[in-house]
Structures are given as C-alpha cells and as structure tokens.
Symmetry: C2
Subunit: 155 residues, 2 copies
C-alpha cells in the first residue's frame, strides 16, 4: 500500500475549516455580524449546534471570542474571504444574472463584479490546463511519488 | 423571528458540495484519477466511506460514473477548480515557500504561481473592503432586509 499523502495543503485546509457551515458563519462575520443572536436570526441554526460551530471556529483559530457573546474573525479567518468569494461565485454561476440573490459589487458604484482566479504577478487565469498542481519543495515522499509523472500519475 | 435566508448562493454551494472531503476527491479527479482503487490509495479512505462519498458526488451532479469503476468530473464538477485552487492557496499561505508540499505551477515553465481573486473585467483584487456582498436582482425579502443597510446590517 502506498503511503497516505498527509502533507496536502488542500487536506490541511479542509481539516482546519471543519464542517462546511463554517463558511456561512465566517461570511456572516465578515459582513459585520458578531453577536450570537444575529448569527441565529440569519442562519436559523439550533442554539446548541450554532454554539458548537462557533466554539470550533474559535478552537481552530478562525474566530475569537470578544466578551461573552461576540465572535469576531481573526486574521486567519479573514484570509478565507477569497475562498468564500469563489464559493459564492460558483453558486451564482448556476443562475442567470437576474436570478442572483446575493452578488459581489464594487462598494462605490454598486456594479457587480465577476471574480476569477489569476496569478498575482502575471494576471493570467490559472484555472486552465496551463496551470497544474505538482510537488513543492516541502513535499513528502508520498507527494513526490504522486506527482513523479507530472499530473498524469493516475492516467 | 426574521425569515431564514434560503436563497444565499454560498448556502446553496455548501449544500451541493456536501462534506468537505468532496473537495479532495474532486481534486484527485481533476489531476487525472478516475479508478476507485486510485482514490483509495491516495486518500486511504475506508471502502464504504469512499464509495458513499463518490455516490454523493454523482448524485449531486459533480461526477459521473463511467463503466462500473471510474468516476469522472462533470462540467459542474470541473467548475469547482477555482475554489479548490483558492483552498490549496490558503493552506499554503500558512507555510513559507520552501515548506510547501503541493504547489500550483505554470505547466510549461514549472514556475509557482500565486492565485488571487480579481474582477474578470477590470483585473482589480476583489478580496478587499472595496468590494462587498449585497442583495442581487433575484433576492428574497429576507435577503433584501439583510442587506437593506448595506453591509452594516449587523453592526
């Protein structure tokens, strides 16, 4: 049996974030919600479940507790905003523009934007076949083996 | 009690994707894995759990079954690649470049890229305070109320 690939940043992100509803809570928090009661009104989650999810967010360093009722995103939590933006964009892609219920806009003009993923330096779209995942300098043996034949190791 | 916001594209994305490990399976599939045994070797997931996760991916339209052992991403599944890229980038951001085990590179040159989220038309970064979520044309009354005071409804 091949060794399990445990050093994958995607797996690490997934583990740290925990359950998906985490993203909805962070999204609310980034929009300015902080009180337990606000999260509860917006998400209509049972008290115990909501409390447990917020605790997990604090545990994993994505939010911090202020006083005894306010949950505020940390820097690490804030740095998930690009993921939230791309998730919401993916949800919106299944709809025509007039059907969209929540959109990302330029705060000054109100004009809707269409988020895409590019390389910071070149501005080129990186969600194409021209860009591939591969083993990085810190890769384990398992990760190196996985990518030894380029991206085609499974084919 | 305010009505629950059910038309949020983020909530819809989260519901459709289901569990987080979905992303790891899709990532493997986008790298060229398709056979059940390949997923199992790479992710070392128990047979029943893996089978159930792959079935759910097929159910939700993100993958399709080819023959009786191959799972291939659909167009909808492929369209999650930008989310996967941003999740992996977030995982990598917690590490210095020499520590990174899996990186996104230009397939032709092998040079690592740094994925960021921009507006397709203007190329401006949209993960800043200059861009905010707001109610779109298809918003429910609940969504409209949530954003009635701009993004500051909770503050």
């Amino acid at each position: 049996v091949a060794p399990r690939i445990t050093d994958c940043p995607l797996a690490r992100a997934v583990e740290r974030i925990g359950e998906w509803p985490t993203m909805e809570l962070l999204h609310e928090a980034l929009d300015g919600c902080s009180r337990f009661s606000d999260f509860q009104v917006h998400l209509q989650t049972e008290t115990d479940v909501l409390r447990s999810r917020l605790y997990k967010l604090v545990d994993s360093g994505l939010m911090t507790l202020r006083g005894d009722d306010e949950y505020v995103p940390t820097e690490l939590g804030r740095s998930l905003r690009p993921v939230i933006i791309m998730l919401a964009a993916w949800g919106n892609h299944q709809l025509r523009p007039p059907e969209r219920s929540m959109i990302l806009v330029d705060a000054a003009t109100g004009v809707e934007v269409e988020p895409v993923v590019v390389d910071r330096d070149t501005g080129l779209r990186v969600d194409t076949g021209d860009f591939v995942f591969t083993a990085g300098p810190g890769a384990s043996k398992a990760m190196r083996t996985r990518y030894a034949l380029g991206a085609a190791v499974c084919e």
